[in-house]
Subunit: 499 residues, 2 copies
Amino acid sequence: MMFEAAEVGRKVSKQAFKEQEPGLHTQLLEVQRALRGSNTPVIVIVSGVEGAGKGAVVNRLHAWLDARGMRTATFWEESDEEQDRPRFWRFWRALPPRGTIGVLFGSWYTRPIIDHVFEHIDEAAFDRELARIATFERMLSDDGALIVKFWFHLSKDVQRKRLKRDLKEGHKSLSTSIVKKFTKHYDTFAAVSERAIRETDTGQCPWHIIESADARYRDLTAGATLLNAIRGRLATQSSDTTSKPPNLELCAPQTPDATITILDHVDLSAALDADEYEHRLEQAQKRLGGLCWSARRKRRNVVAVFEGWDAAGKGGAIRRVTAAMDARLYRVISIAAPTDEEKAQHYLWRFWRQIPRAGYVTIYDRSWYGRVLVERVEGFTHPHDWMRGYREINEFEEELTDHGVVLLKFWIHMSGDEQLRRFEERGVTPWKQHKITDEDWRNRERWDDYNQAVNDMVTRTSTEFAPWTLVAGNDKKSARVQIAETFCERLASALADDG
Amino acid sequence: MMFEAAEVGRKVSKQAFKEQEPGLHTQLLEVQRALRGSNTPVIVIVSGVEGAGKGAVVNRLHAWLDARGMRTATFWEESDEEQDRPRFWRFWRALPPRGTIGVLFGSWYTRPIIDHVFEHIDEAAFDRELARIATFERMLSDDGALIVKFWFHLSKDVQRKRLKRDLKEGHKSLSTSIVKKFTKHYDTFAAVSERAIRETDTGQCPWHIIESADARYRDLTAGATLLNAIRGRLATQSSDTTSKPPNLELCAPQTPDATITILDHVDLSAALDADEYEHRLEQAQKRLGGLCWSARRKRRNVVAVFEGWDAAGKGGAIRRVTAAMDARLYRVISIAAPTDEEKAQHYLWRFWRQIPRAGYVTIYDRSWYGRVLVERVEGFTHPHDWMRGYREINEFEEELTDHGVVLLKFWIHMSGDEQLRRFEERGVTPWKQHKITDEDWRNRERWDDYNQAVNDMVTRTSTEFAPWTLVAGNDKKSARVQIAETFCERLASALADDG
């Protein structure tokens, strides 16, 4: 899912590129000048899949920036000089001095990822490498470095085509066997990379995943994101080196083509007629009721998180799910504003306290994801804090699933038009009027911000142990069936794994 | 070595305790009142060896503090309620709200340590647990929590006596077999605990190791350290939650008995007559010369760090060592102030750049330890930064030794009187006058501060992969022989491990 968000077809037209590029170029030069007088070294990590055009990006950055304040280091084969020294020596050599930009083409990530893909190191060793990398980056960052990490992504399909084209055009470094090798290992490589990115995606040094099928989008986004990161750092520069907010935002050009998100790929045309709806829902409910008792017997907890747009139908979907369950086995928790007691603790505390004993189903109507949705969009929380949220949530969910909790997460998506229709309907239907408030209308104005926040949330917290399910919510019936059936499948497969 | 610094015999007289206790009590109550209005929860972790009187400390803290703003949680056997939930649930339950103090008697450290001591989990799993703990603590700390971690230590011998006494006095929880078990596993327990402490001894959440043979010293030090930590936090409280300096200092009462350091245990009476000196030095040098060639053949690097008081005889000792080596194999690096180019990088950068290819000996006359010695004592570096130094240095040295570097570290100790004698001698000996400067006299005034800094350095950076050797330096001959012989032994044993 992390990478799916970079397979949505983002692109920038020739025209838009022509319009934006000169401004970006000028601003990059300006910010580079300002950087020169500062105490900050900027470390740009360029990584990603083969064929994504990492070399082209680096060349573009060189065209945009002043060569006197930047240096690019490549890490191909280790020299014998390097092999004779501890592994990080080659990276220390390449670190930029304060006030300059160092582009690392390949980096400390390359070897652990490759080694794990080809099974030269096992998972425990890989995790240890990642922990070491995180420590290393934190050390540099604590010392004042700004680390901007780019991952350039291509889908499997696009990669194959790209490599074949490059091969035809006679790229020196390619051969048919190399192309085959990349294609063959694509999935493993993606899974390993995803883990590497997630484990090192800290608030202090976040990753930026950039879709690279379109070169113009790729380059403009990388350039603007770098610009924004340096600018943000310089703006908050203070003598206190620990108080610098990182900058998480991916700065895509603000054109429709370049701001497509993973939500735009949800097929909202799905719809069910009444008969099919009732039949399938009934089937799923029957199955779900039994599965919940099996979970109880196996002492497995189930946690289901429901998030979605206002009026997307969370409540209705939850009722259809709970209708299938024995009332003694489940509990629905509606998350509203925290109590005073909860405010006096870490924001995750109130979710920890709700964790039931083994064998129960807990359903959250809104959840801990408020941290990176409403708290982010409405500015209730300092960026420092919500940016750390993704990783904290991943850790939290890993704790749960390590303990055997089956964790389901639903985002009920819908179109803006459909939301408007429902809002208006609520406005005129007396018994639905209480469901619509001024706040709902205000939230609606922030649709784009929420859209971005949801995209980031799904990208950064869809893990192999707790993936998101994006639900097509324009048709309520279809949404409810999708949820009930997904619930069954995930639960059944988790229980089957127990043997 | 980490624990040896807590086996030096620190104690507080009845008289001194009586004098200090009322003031400490009053100040703790004051600071607790001030804490109440703040955003900071204080988490006090009470851990350590069996018999160290952890329960007594907790009771003392309860006597000193206002019960309305504190709560103690004990983590004995997991309840069935707790077993049914993810492992950290019991700790989340016990976290104190902002403005209050939570004393955790036993903590998230207990189980991983016990599990690893009794080999229920292997080293990789143990490391993973420690990484998770570090992440957890960082999360709480990022959120504004002040985490004060105490480790109460007893030497093996004192523990055995203590447990036997407790047994005789009829402590309910003790039996002869339990006492035997603790004594039997003491060394393993110490080694595992040391690793746990080192891996989680971050600048943000540092450990305090408190010698616990004397109850008065133990309690006063714990109380004063807690007081100091809370006070430090409240003083720097700002809206920016990330900019709070941790507080590393152990606040022992300032009496001679309570401020004994590991250096006071170096036997400075060691001395050699000229004959024995020449004979043993010659033997060691011969052996060392051969060992360096073996290291060369085996492509092992040797790094030797020399630190010590001014006029302790580092230069002379280094010359005796290098006299044994082929000039093509070694290099002596004198660390002075960093160059402009070096200042523009992380402080470790200048040491990384000096790392030789495989098969060489590098001798550092002063080293990266300047970070936690002169930079700390003279205030050249912000406490934020040098406090991170210990862990950064440990990581650095682990990188080196992981790569096969044999790392030796010598601190040449001497008495203040002997230093004075040498300074005065230098002052009147024409050809030695250049060796003594005003700065040396100034440093001398800071003897106690340096003493404390050296104690912390040796405690926090003496690792199983790179232990410190404390050299008795009052007699130069004896010091040189000790160094040359230690050099041989460490190098020989490292090369022997290679087979």
